[in-house]
Amino acid sequence: MNNDQPKFELISRREAILRVSALFGGTLLVGQAAMLAGCAAPATGRQRSSAARGLFSQSDIELMDEIAETILPETDTPGAKAAGVGPFIALMVSDTYYAADQQVFVKGLADLQTRSLTGYGANFRVITAAQRLELVERLDAEQHLYMETRTDAMPAHYFRMIKELTLLGYFTSEIGYMQAMRYVETPGRFDPCVPLVPGEKSWAPHA
């Protein structure tokens, strides 16, 4: 055969989908196997989302709000809490995650609380903002290392789930669209090349 040997890195399917979905502005949820599963969706580990209702208590949701706010705090634009990210995460984990990932998530939330209690002697919701940031930064470093080195058989790290859902929930919220980014419902024209002034926000896509 006269084809050249592949001289470029052939990336894994998971990696490829991650990159392509990022390239084309799409999103991919780590806890949601759908796009990766294709025909090979896990037959086990799935359950009706109705069974997942009641997965989170009100205090869980408040906890997720605080974690999300630590990841994306109020600056000159509102933070994750104002954008309703806590309830959004609860909804997404309940409705779109497979049971195995739901368990990783729920256990992870408990782990985060345990670390708060052992590290700072109190519930995450009552420790100081500096302590929250310190803990969340540590978890972020852990998940980052784990996610870059894990094999396909290993589940996603719970903090990657939280971070991803926080980002998704925030940047696709009305606050995300209208304040963190710029959104024009009907642009009316296409300018293929315009100057970007430092500090200017991204254009948020319509769909």
């Binding site: 055969m1 006269n2 592949p6 470029f8 890195e9 052939l10 990336i11 991650l18 990159r19 392509v20 979905s21 990022a22 390239l23 799409g26 999103t27 949601q32 759908a34 796009m35 025909c39 359950q47 009706r48 989302s49 630590t70 990841i71 994306l72 705090p73 600056t75 634009t77 933070g79 997404m92 409705d95 779109t96 940031l133 972020d140 980002l167 998704l168 940047f171 696709t172 009305e174 995300g176 669209y177 963190a180 980014m181 419902e185 642009p187 024209r189 296409f190 300018d191 293929p192 090349c193 315009v194 100057p195 970007l196 430092p198 500090g199 991204s202 254009w203 896509p205 319509h206 769909a207």
Partner: protein, 561 residues
């Protein structure tokens, strides 16, 4: 009870059916258009077109419940919260996969014309001559010159934005002004033009989105939300373009919820006299008669109908005397390509404005002009360049205020493209009626047995590597290839199963899209394709349909049908 009489019946209301209805009514025929699904009224029924992105509870994503309800659609991107209503129910309309085949269907007025990717490219004589030149399958009974005026005709009405490039393998057309390349794409296009003997070129994607107003339609407003339906009629669909033209004649009757279950064959006249219709709601059966019937029900459903008709004469169905009905199923294979990061100081302070509903195109260059690879035919690329958005934040280390503000701003420029490859016609790739399984209406379903072969597998190696090579040569960094795996059907470009040809012994349709065994039946959707080329096929269905309609009306006037 006497059946209701029309001049023509059009089965299906998608891209091909809409064109058949428009052309036949405009030429004076009284036409009945039958659509198996519900009506979708232009603008009024685009229920999500004006919805804010944040109003979707899962922000457009998919739930586990949705995945369970759509076991096929879930295999790829079509399953999403935003236009779920426009994808046929896998549960109501199952099919049998002898081998995996992903069938993504739109069962409503407008069909997939509401959902299509709108890329619009002409085939060339490289494509029409390929089978004969290489001894593959059978020769197309037409050449580019037969179709060229009809491409002109449909492009003018549909509104195709594109640039004139003077490339033999991708003929120019009657274009509206192109949607330009953005500055990242322009940079790479300029570099690539000086490489590979200038044979590999990045050109603006040719797309059926109007850049100038057309009757009843505003130009594209660059919302890039076509798949929700366009409140401006900015892109070509049955609803925006062909249906209003047909309706304006006063000669079109559109009947939704009408499943055509059989063509009624008149042995004596050797013609089809009409169709049998099952009301999808009341489940009552009715008959309609007409002098000609256009099958535009989408590739697999048009052939399903043929397979079920005139079985008392031909056990294999109407058009089966050649032994080719149901055979030679094809698609475009894709989901393979490359991408990388575009670092250039001149782009750091550049951005773009508006959502362009297309990208760039790299026309086929393989196995042309004397080159011979270890596979036949070729592929084209569709791609784009853009600055990364907030999504990049998922994989980046970081949390907190600075991180948030940084991720609110555009990131690096990325560029990438996916190849769409030609799939050879292969007799064993086929559909047949599965008498052991029925759909919601008790109708037997299709069994689909199709796979890509060695030619496609060899081609995929080039499809990945060539793009990486072009990007690297153009100064793009961190280039990587991907092959996300492909199963037939995923291209949503189903073609073949009732191919055109020159000989009734080896083809189902003649050069005018008439069924050899019943010349008043025309099949003008993807089923008629003799080979796939690598270009997106819908524009060719439009041209073939308009050409066949013109011929049908002339033949009716001559008393030949």
């Amino acid at each position: 009870m006497a059946a209701e009489m029309y001049d023509a019946i059009v089965v299906g209301s998608g891209i091909s059916g809409g064109w058949a209805a428009k052309e036949l009514t405009e030429k004076g025929l009284r036409v009945l258009m039958l659509e198996r699904g519900r009506n979708v009224e232009h603008v009024k029924d685009y229920v999500n077109a004006r919805k804010a992105p944040w109003e979707y509870p899962h922000r457009g994503g998919r739930t586990v419940a949705m995945e369970e309800a759509w076991p096929v659609l879930r295999r790829d991107y079509p399953l999403n919260e935003k236009n779920l209503d426009w994808w046929a129910s896998d549960r109501d309309s199952p099919y049998t996969e002898v081998r995996r085949f992903d069938w993504y269907r739109g069962y409503h007025v407008g069909g997939r014309s509401l959902l299509w990717g709108r890329q619009s490219y002409r085939l060339s004589d490289f494509d029409f001559e390929a089978n004969a030149r290489e001894g593959i399958a059978v020769d197309w009974p037409i050449r580019y010159a037969d179709l060229a005026p009809w491409y002109d005709h449909v492009e003018r009405h549909a509104g195709v934005a594109g640039s004139h490039e003077n490339m033999a393998q991708l003929p120019d057309g009657e274009f509206q002004p192109a949607m330009p390349l953005n500055c990242g794409e322009e940079l790479v296009a300029g570099r690539l033009a000086n490489l590979f003997d200038g044979r590999r070129r990045i050109i603006p994607g040719r797309v059926a989105n109007a850049t100038q107003a057309l009757p009843g339609r505003a130009p594209c407003q660059y919302r890039n939300a076509c798949w929700l339906g366009c409140p401006y009629g900015g892109y070509f669909s049955t609803q925006s373009s062909t249906l209003p033209a047909a309706m304006a004649t006063g000669r079109l009757t559109l009947m939704p919820f009408s499943i055509v279950t059989e063509l009624v064959y008149d042995r004596e006249r050797q013609r089809v006299s009409g169709v049998r219709v099952l009301d999808a709601v009341t489940e009552k059966s009715t008959e309609f008669t007409a002098r000609v019937v256009f099958l535009c029900a989408s590739t697999l459903n048009s052939t399903w109908l043929l397979l079920r008709s005139a079985t008392d004469v031909w056990p294999g169905g109407l058009g089966s005397s050649s032994g080719e009905l149901g055979h030679n199923l094809m698609d475009h294979h894709f989901r393979v390509g490359a991408e990388g990061t575009l670092r250039d100081a001149s782009l750091d302070d550049k951005y773009y404005y508006g959502g362009r509903p297309t990208g760039f195109y790299i026309p086929r260059y393989r196995n042309l002009f004397g080159e011979q690879r270890d596979y036949l035919r070729g592929f084209g690329y569709q791609g784009s360049s853009s600055r990364l958005g907030w999504q990049r934040a998922v994989r980046e280390l970081g949390v907190g205020a600075d991180f948030k503000d940084r991720m609110s701003e555009p990131g690096e420029w990325r560029i990438g493209a996916t190849a769409f490859g030609e799939m050879l016609p292969h007799h064993p790739n086929r559909i047949s009626i599965d008498q052991t399984h029925t759909d919601k209406w008790g109708l037997p379903v299709l069994a689909i047995d199709c796979a890509i072969g060695e030619n496609e597998r060899l081609m995929r190696i080039d499809m990945a590597n060539d793009m990486a090579e072009m990007l690297e040569a153009s100064g793009v960094s961190e280039v990587s290839t991907y092959d996300n795996e492909y199963w037939p059907g995923m291209g949503i470009h189903e073609m073949g199963t009732a191919r055109m040809g020159r000989d009734p012994k080896t083809s189902v349709l003649n050069g005018r899209n008439q069924v050899w065994d019943a010349p008043n039946v025309f099949v003008t959707d993807g089923a008629c394709m003799t080979s796939t080329a690598c270009q997106n096929p819908s524009l060719t269905y439009m041209a073939l349909t308009a050409r066949a309609a013109d011929f049908a009306v002339a033949e009716l006037k001559r008393g030949n049908l």
